[in-house]
Symmetry: C2
C-alpha cells in the first residue's frame, strides 16, 4: 500500500521521468494528491485539492501517468471516468466497486484464454478489447461504507 519508494520519491513521478519527462512542482503535487487518495479519484477531485495547479496541467499530468502505465482510467457503469494507481506490470483488468470506487486489478489468465477462443467465434481479427467488472467490494458488503 506504500505508494512511495524507499527514496521518498513518488513512483508516479519516477515513471514519467523514465520516459524523459521533467520532474516539476506541479507534477509532484499531482502525484502526491493521487498517492494520498484512498480509492479511485476523478480529475476534478485533484483539481479541487490543488487550486494552485491549473486544470489543464492536471489533465496533462494524468495523461502522462497513463501513458507511463502508472495509472489506469476506468469508467463506472454510467460512463463516469475515474482514475486509480496501476501497480501491476503486465496486461490486466480492473474491478471497480460501484459503491466506494475502489479499483482492484486482476490478472485473469482465464480471460486471456477466452479471448483466444473467441478469435474463432468473432468475425475478423481481434485487435484489442476492453473489460471492466463492477462489484460491491468486501468492505462495502460488510457495511464499512454505506
Amino acid at each position: 500500500m506504500d505508494s512511495q519508494n524507499g527514496n521518498g520519491r513518488s513512483d508516479l513521478l519516477l515513471a514519467i521521468e523514465d520516459q524523459g519527462h521533467r520532474s516539476t512542482h506541479a507534477r509532484r503535487l499531482v502525484a502526491e494528491a493521487i498517492e494520498a487518495s484512498a480509492e479511485s479519484f476523478t480529475a476534478e477531485e485533484i483539481c479541487e485539492q490543488l487550486p494552485s495547479v491549473g486544470r489543464a496541467t492536471v489533465y496533462r499530468t494524468l495523461k502522462l501517468f497513463l501513458s507511463a502505465d502508472a495509472l489506469c482510467k476506468v469508467a463506472l457503469p454510467d460512463g463516469a471516468p475515474r482514475y486509480a494507481v496501476d501497480t501491476g506490470g503486465r496486461h490486466h483488468h480492473h474491478s471497480i466497486c460501484t459503491n466506494c470506487g475502489a479499483v482492484n486489478e486482476f490478472r485473469a489468465s482465464t480471460v486471456e484464454r477466452v479471448l483466444r477462443a473467441l478469435d474463432r467465434e468473432v468475425d475478423g481479427e481481434i485487435t484489442g478489447h476492453r473489460m471492466e467488472i463492477f462489484v460491491r467490494c468486501d468492505k462495502c458488503l460488510s457495511g464499512a461504507v454505506q
Copy 2:
C-alpha cells in the same frame, strides 16, 4: 438483415411503443435513419441526416431505443461513442471493427462462464461488467474498405 417487420413499421419504433411511448414523426425519422445506416453510427450523423429533427430529440430518441434494448451503445478504443442496432435478445457482447465501425453481437457462453469463475478471484460481489472486443472485420481484412 431486414430492419423492418412485415408491417412496414420499424422494429425500433415498435420497441418503444411497447414501452408506452408515442409513435411520433421525429421518432419515425430517427428510426428510419438508423435502419438505413450500414454499420454503426454516431448521434451526430443522425443529426446531420435529419436537419429537421432537433439534436435534443435525436438524443432523447436514441436513449429511448437504448432503454428498450433495441439499440446498443459502444465506444471505440479512444472512447468515441457509437450506436448500432441490437437484434439479439439475451445478454450478449459486441465486437467493433475499428476500421469500418461494423458492430457484431456475440453471445459468448464462455465469457459468462469466466465471469462466474471470476467471482472467486475478485474481491467482493460482481454486480455487472462491460466488455467490448475490437476487431478488424473480415470485410476490411479482405480490402473491401481501406
